[in-house]
């Protein structure tokens, strides 16, 4: 929690500024709507965190999200019966993609930047090769309930997010989380202490794949089938994680901070939109803020360490 403090302060500040511009923003309904909207990115950031803290990257999540949505639509084709099996299949697909990423990275020793970039290309190509270029079929209402519906006043996606967050925090507190961070901090030392470095990294990629599957289920549910659904999500997720103070290169930062980073990014989008910095200048402001945040975060590190990280 202590490590997440700076980003939580920033997040609180942003939410306060939004509330100034739009007083009803802090009403429960509006706040829930905000959380619902942020949920997929927060979940992706949580998954990406596992990979980054172990010292790797996962660039394939965006195209994995698209692939998952398109697969679901084609398999379900608007009929409800197969909803649960298909949900299970999506989860398996996410895990499988993560497994391949992990094995290629750890056993074939391909840098993860490249292995997951290759996976990005392969997934986006293969999925449309299979569907003949554009998404086919449709997602039935039952499938979409998770992303669209709500339990009483609370959207399902918020509940899913809470479950994912709880799961991620538990995993990081459990032995797995500690060995993962150990592998990211000093893989040599970790290996000599009995950490199965290749295995925990592979599991981290699988967690990331799983998070992409969950995000895809929510995004597909929220807005239906689309070929663009996952576009650019990998960079957003990495940005969110880094914004949360998690160091690229591994071994530093908490999953709570990573998720707070994702909320912050989403709040930033909302704020920019609210103040009319829509479209055009939004990326520029975003770019400056990300660089500034990481630069400021780096200032509190000792010189040597930060230099090594660059």
């Amino acid at each position: 929690m202590r490590r997440a403090l700076p980003i939580l302060v920033v997040l609180a500040g942003l939410l306060a500024v939004i509330a100034v511009a739009q007083p009803n923003f802090l009403a429960p309904a509006a706040l829930l709507a905000f959380v619902k909207r942020a949920a997929p990115l927060v979940i992706l950031a949580a998954g990406q965190y596992f990979v980054i803290v172990s010292g790797e990257y996962d660039l394939s999540v965006g195209s994995l999200v698209t692939a998952e949505v398109v697969v679901a639509a084609r398999l379900l084709d608007g009929s409800a019966e197969a909803t649960w099996p298909v949900l299970a299949l999506l989860v398996v697909l996410g895990l499988l993609v993560g497994l391949v990423n992990g094995v290629v990275t750890t056993l074939l020793r391909v840098p993860s930047f490249i292995s997951t970039l290759g996976m990005l290309l392969i997934l986006s190509g293969a999925i449309f090769l299979w569907t003949g270029g554009a998404p086919r079929g449709a997602l039935p209402p039952q499938f979409r309930e998770l992303g669209r519906g709500s339990l009483g006043p609370v959207p399902w996606s918020v509940l899913v997010l809470v479950a994912v967050a709880a799961g991620a925090i538990c995993a990081m507190r459990a032995g797995f989380g500690h060995t993962l961070i150990a592998a990211g901090d000093n893989d040599r030392a970790a290996a000599l202490s009995g950490v199965h470095v290749a295995r925990v990294r592979t599991v981290a990629f699988m967690v990331s794949g799983l998070s992409a599957a969950v995000a895809a289920i929510l995004l597909g549910g929220f807005a239906g089938v689309s070929a663009q659904v996952g576009q650019g999500l990998e960079f957003q997720a990495i940005t969110a994680v880094v914004l949360g103070g998690v160091a690229l290169g591994g071994g530093r930062g908490s999953v709570v901070a990573a998720m707070a980073g994702a909320f912050t990014l989403e709040a930033l989008f909302t704020l920019l939109n609210l103040y009319g910095v829509s479209g055009a200048l939004e990326p520029a402001v975003q770019g400056v803020i990300i660089i500034a945040a990481v630069a400021l975060g780096g200032m509190s590190l000792p010189r040597g360490r930060a230099a090594a990280a660059s």
Binding site: P111, S124, G125, A126, L248, E282, S310
Partner: protein, 332 residues
């Protein structure tokens, strides 16, 4: 006596080639390229085309020139242990700067070239300073700069703008025999970079800083300056690619860089060419091979009219396979 020593130690034959590929990893990519050309030749023959026809050879060169120039720049930053994700947006920006400054007039060309080089050098300087002075990881630093450039583009342009005079379009369309001017430009950029890396102090220091920043420091190399210089040179290459594209397109286009995927594709070409993503190992020869490999692959795809989605799958597999092979060769 020195001459004798050299002769004794290195067979005279092949010494030039050996020096050209001071980066030995480049050999693998040329073997792959040769194999691919044979495969291409066979596939073309089966499909009723001629792989080694002048048109096809020109096509391969035309298609690879812009990517090739960017990839040469990317090689420099990667060798120095950094990375540049901002090249795609920078290319878009420079096509616009070029076309708008020229405004269709011949007189504008020198000014435009100067303006493009100034803009791109500035972008590189900013990248380099953020990476070295603010100590922001290159991935985030250049991604951030990319977003800033994108904001400028989105804010100022909503479509192709400016125009390039006829005279400047010679750059993009003319050719000397089977050699397009654009490919000659690429060759010149690659040769300069090769020259820089092998024959200048900066080149030696780029390898040193990327290979082991601490060793470089102990030898009196100022690592930060080297990284900044590499970023400036990389951005200049992006600027040159922007000029080339402007001459090809006849105008500036705000999406030409991102549509071309020059950021990730240039990195892919560099690493396929055997340059280590971590820096310090590899070189321009490998990158040229990597770009040609991708271009020949494209040419085969074109002949066979392969679905663009299948192309992506093949490219992804080639990328990962190439890196896995390089990793194996390293440890073997």
């Amino acid at each position: 006596m020195t001459q004798q020593l050299d002769l004794r130690r290195l067979p005279a034959v092949g010494s030039f080639l050996r020096r050209l590929s001071a980066d030995r990893p480049a050999r693998a990519v040329y073997v792959a390229l040769a194999l691919l050309i044979v495969v291409g030749w066979l596939l073309f023959a089966l499909d009723g085309g001629r792989f080694l026809s002048q048109e096809n050879i020109v096509g391969i060169q035309q298609r690879s020139a812009a990517l090739g120039i960017v990839a040469v720049g990317q090689t420099l930053v990667i060798l120095a242990g950094s990375l540049d994700l901002s090249v795609a947006y920078l290319i878009s920006l420079t096509t616009l700067v070029a076309a708008e400054t020229m405004g269709g007039a011949d007189a504008g060309v020198p000014v435009a070239v100067a303006a493009v080089l100034a803009v791109s050098a500035t972008a590189g300087l900013v990248n380099g300073l953020i990476v070295t002075r603010l100590r922001v990881h290159a991935f985030i630093a250049t991604l951030g700069v990319a977003l800033v450039i994108r904001g400028v583009l989105d804010d100022r342009y909503d479509g192709p703008a400016g125009s390039v005079p006829e005279s400047f379009q010679h750059l993009g369309y003319d050719r000397v025999g089977p050699l397009p001017v654009s490919a000659l430009l690429w060759a010149a950029v690659a040769a300069s970079a090769w020259f820089l890396l092998s024959r200048t102090r900066l080149g030696c220091r780029i390898y040193a800083v990327g290979g082991d920043a601490e060793v470089a420091r102990l030898s009196g190399v100022r690592g930060e300056r080297v990284v900044v210089a590499a970023h400036v040179l990389c951005s200049l290459c992006a600027g040159i690619a922007g000029l080339l594209l402007a001459s090809r397109l006849g105008a500036g286009a705000p999406t030409v860089g991102t549509d071309g995927g020059y950021d990730l594709e240039s990195i892919a070409a560099v690493v396929i060419g055997g340059t280590a993503l971590a820096g310090g190992r590899g070189g321009v020869a490998g990158t040229v091979g990597g770009v040609l490999l991708l271009a020949v692959l494209d040419s085969i795809f074109n002949q066979l009219e392969v679905d663009s989605f299948a192309k992506d799958v093949v490219r992804g597999v080639v990328l990962v396979a190439a890196l896995a092979i390089h990793a194996r060769r390293r440890t073997a």
